[in-house]
C-alpha cells in the first residue's frame, strides 16, 4: 500500500516537473535557447496568486497564468529578441541575468521571508489503508489534461504545425510564410502559463513561497527535459514523470532520502553518458 501511495505521489510530482519541463523543451526546440529564467516564472506565479487570493482562488490562478504569460512575452521581447543570432553563450548569460533580476525584484517587493499562500485546504482521501492527498489527485489529473491538450494543439492546429516546422528548420519555415517571431512569442506565452500552473500545484503541496523558490524545481525540470531529450515534447513529459517518481521513491527510503537530489542528478549524468541525446532526443547530424 505504501508502495502505491508513493507511486501516485511520484506521478503527481512528476506531472508538475513535466509541465515545467515542457516550457524548457519547447523554448529550446523553437528559439534554440536555454531559458534559465523559466524556473523563476514559477515563483512570480506564486506571488501573483498571493496578490489576488483575497478575491477568490480561481481568479488568483487565472491572474497568475495571465500575468506570467505577459511576463514571458515581455522578457522574450526585451531580453532575448535583440540577441537573436548572437552566440548561444550570450543568450545563456542573459537568461541567467533575467533569473537574478526576477529573484531580486521579488525580494524587494515581498521580502526574503517565506510567505504562506494557502490556496485551498483539500484534505486527504482514505481508501482502506491507502491515503492520498486530494491535491495529489488534482495535480495528477490536471497535468495529464494539460499534456493531452498541448499534444493535440501541437498536432492538430495551424500554430502547432508551424511550431514543429520552426523547430526543425527556421529558415525553410520563414520561406513558407511563417512569422517566426510570432511563433516564438506564442511558445514563451504557453511555457510561462504552464509554469504558473505548476506554482499552483506546488502551493497545494506546501503553501510557502520565497523569492528563490523557482531555482530548484527549475533545475530539476530542466534535468527532466534533458533526460527526455531536449526539444522533444513527449520526451519532456516522460522525463518529468520519471524524475518525479524517482524523487518520491528515494524520499520514501530513510537510508537514501537525504541524497534524493544527488540521486536525481546522477541519473542525468549516467543517462547522458549512455545516450547523450536523451531518451527521445534525435541525434542531430551536422551538415558539412
Amino acid at each position: 500500500m505504501e508502495f502505491l501511495t508513493t507511486f501516485v505521489n511520484g506521478l503527481s510530482l512528476g506531472g508538475i516537473y513535466a509541465m515545467i519541463a515542457l516550457g524548457y523543451t519547447m523554448v529550446y526546440g523553437i528559439a534554440k535557447m536555454l531559458n534559465f529564467a523559466h524556473g523563476d516564472i514559477i515563483m512570480v506565479g506564486g506571488y501573483t496568486i498571493l496578490l489576488f487570493l483575497f478575491v477568490n482562488p480561481i481568479v488568483a490562478i487565472i491572474a497568475a497564468m495571465v500575468f506570467c504569460m505577459i511576463l514571458g512575452i515581455v522578457v522574450e521581447k526585451v531580453a532575448y529578441k535583440p540577441l537573436r543570432g548572437a552566440s548561444p553563450l550570450a543568450v545563456l548569460i542573459t537568461a541567467i541575468g533575467v533569473s537574478y533580476l526576477l529573484q531580486s525584484l521579488a525580494q524587494m517587493i515581498f521580502g526574503s521571508a517565506p510567505k504562506y499562500i494557502v490556496i485551498a485546504d483539500l484534505g486527504i482521501l482514505k481508501i482502506g489503508s491507502l491515503s492520498i492527498g486530494y491535491n495529489t489527485i488534482i495535480t495528477l489529473v490536471c497535468s495529464i489534461l494539460v499534456m493531452v491538450a498541448l499534444s493535440l494543439f501541437v498536432k492538430f492546429s495551424k500554430t502547432g504545425r508551424a511550431m514543429v516546422a520552426v523547430s526543425e528548420d527556421k529558415g525553410a519555415a520563414q520561406l513558407m510564410g511563417i512569422n517566426v517571431n510570432r511563433i516564438i512569442m506564442i511558445t514563451f506565452a504557453i511555457g510561462s502559463a504552464l509554469a504558473a500552473l505548476a506554482s499552483v500545484f506546488f502551493l497545494l503541496k506546501a503553501p510557502t513561497m520565497t523569492p528563490t523558490f523557482g531555482s530548484l524545481p527549475g533545475i530539476k525540470a530542466f534535468t527532466a527535459a534533458v533526460i527526455g531529450g531536449i526539444g522533444s515534447i513527449p520526451g519532456a513529459m516522460i522525463g518529468g514523470i520519471l524524475l518525479g517518481v524517482i524523487e518520491c521513491f528515494a524520499q520514501a527510503v530513510p537510508a537514501i532520502s537525504p541524497y534524493t537530489d544527488a540521486i536525481e542528478f546522477s541519473i542525468l549524468i549516467i543517462l547522458l553518458l549512455v545516450k547523450p541525446s536523451g531518451l527521445l532526443g534525435k541525434v542531430r547530424r551536422e551538415k558539412v
Binding site: F156, A165, E168, A172, L175, M176, G177, I178, V180
Partner: protein, 265 residues
C-alpha cells in the same frame, strides 16, 4: 503603402518579376553584381551558370534571406526589396531548396498544410479553445492539402513521415509545399539534382503540368542541360556573379562564351 504599378513587356504580356541592377557584396566579394531579370507571366525562365556563379544567392535575394546591397526588384509591379522572407512568401514568391529542406518530423500531408497556413483564416484563440471555426478550417486545410497531393501523385503517401519518402518524391513534395502557399512566382533551386533520368523526365512533366494547371511563372536554377534545353524558354547565364548571356534558350546554349564558361577552352 507603396504604389503598385503593373509593368508590361513590349508584346503586352505582364512582367511578373523585374529585377534592376541587383548587387550583393559579402566583405570584398561581389557575389551578385548587377543582375537584371525580366520574367513575363507564365514564362519558364532558367538561371544557369557554373558552380559558385551566384545563382542561389539570387534566389536568396528574391526570397528576402539576404538584402541586396544595391538594386531593387518588383513582383507584379510591387517593390519588394528589403522585405522579410515571411512577407516575401505572403506577397507571392515561393521556393524549393538545393538540398531538400522538408519538415521531416511532419507527415507528407502536414508539410503541405504548413504551406497552406496563410491561405485559410483561423486565429490562435479559435485554435486554443477549439471553437467551431478551428474544426472547419482544419478540415479545409486537410482537404486542400489532399487535393494538392493528388496533383503531384503523392496522395498515397500522405501519412508517411516526409523523411521516409524516396528522394525523387521528396523533391516533388517540396514543390507541392511551395505551391500550397499560392505563389505568383515559383523559384526552383536545382529541382533535378541527384535524380536519375526517369525521375528527371517525370519532374519535367510535373513542371509543365503545374505551369498549365496553376498558370504560374517559374524561375529555375539547373545544371541538367537536358532539362534546361527541354523546358526553359529563356535563360540568363551567370558567371562570377555577373550576367554572361541573356536570351532565348537555344541561342544562349550555343553562345561560344557560355560554352567556354562551362567547359573551358
Amino acid at each position: 503603402m507603396a504604389e503598385v504599378k503593373k509593368i508590361y513587356a513590349d508584346d503586352g504580356r505582364e512582367i511578373v518579376l523585374k529585377a534592376d541592377h541587383l548587387c550583393i557584396q559579402f566583405g570584398g566579394l561581389k557575389a551578385v553584381d548587377n543582375v537584371n531579370l525580366e520574367i513575363k507571366k507564365g514564362e519558364l525562365y532558367g538561371l544557369i551558370g557554373p558552380n559558385g556563379a551566384g545563382k542561389t544567392t539570387v534566389f536568396n535575394l528574391l526570397t528576402g534571406v539576404y538584402k541586396p546591397t544595391l538594386g531593387r526588384f518588383y513582383l507584379c509591379g510591387e517593390d519588394l526589396t528589403g522585405k522579410t522572407p515571411a512577407e516575401m512568401n505572403k506577397k507571392g514568391i515561393a521556393r524549393t531548396f538545393q538540398n531538400i529542406r522538408l519538415f521531416n518530423n511532419l507527415t507528407v500531408i502536414e508539410n503541405v498544410m504548413v504551406g497552406l497556413a496563410n491561405q485559410i483564416p483561423c486565429n490562435l484563440v479559435q485554435s486554443v479553445f477549439r471553437l467551431p471555426r478551428h474544426k472547419k478550417s482544419e478540415k479545409e486545410y486537410y482537404e486542400r492539402a489532399l487535393e494538392l497531393l493528388k496533383v503531384f501523385n503523392l496522395d498515397e503517401y500522405k501519412d508517411y513521415l516526409a523523411a521516409n519518402l524516396p528522394y525523387g518524391k521528396q523533391r516533388k513534395l517540396e514543390i507541392a509545399r511551395a505551391m500550397a502557399t499560392n505563389p505568383k512566382l515559383l523559384l526552383l533551386d536545382e529541382p533535378a539534382a541527384g535524380m536519375n533520368p526517369n525521375e528527371t523526365q517525370e519532374l519535367m512533366d510535373v513542371i509543365s503540368f503545374i505551369r498549365k494547371e496553376f498558370d504560374i511563372t517559374i524561375l529555375l536554377i539547373e545544371h541538367d542541360m537536358r532539362l534546361v534545353g527541354g523546358i526553359c524558354e529563356k535563360l540568363t547565364v551567370l558567371n562570377f556573379g555577373t550576367e554572361l548571356a541573356v536570351g532565348e534558350t537555344s541561342e544562349v546554349l550555343n553562345n561560344p562564351e557560355v560554352i567556354k564558361a562551362y567547359i573551358g577552352e
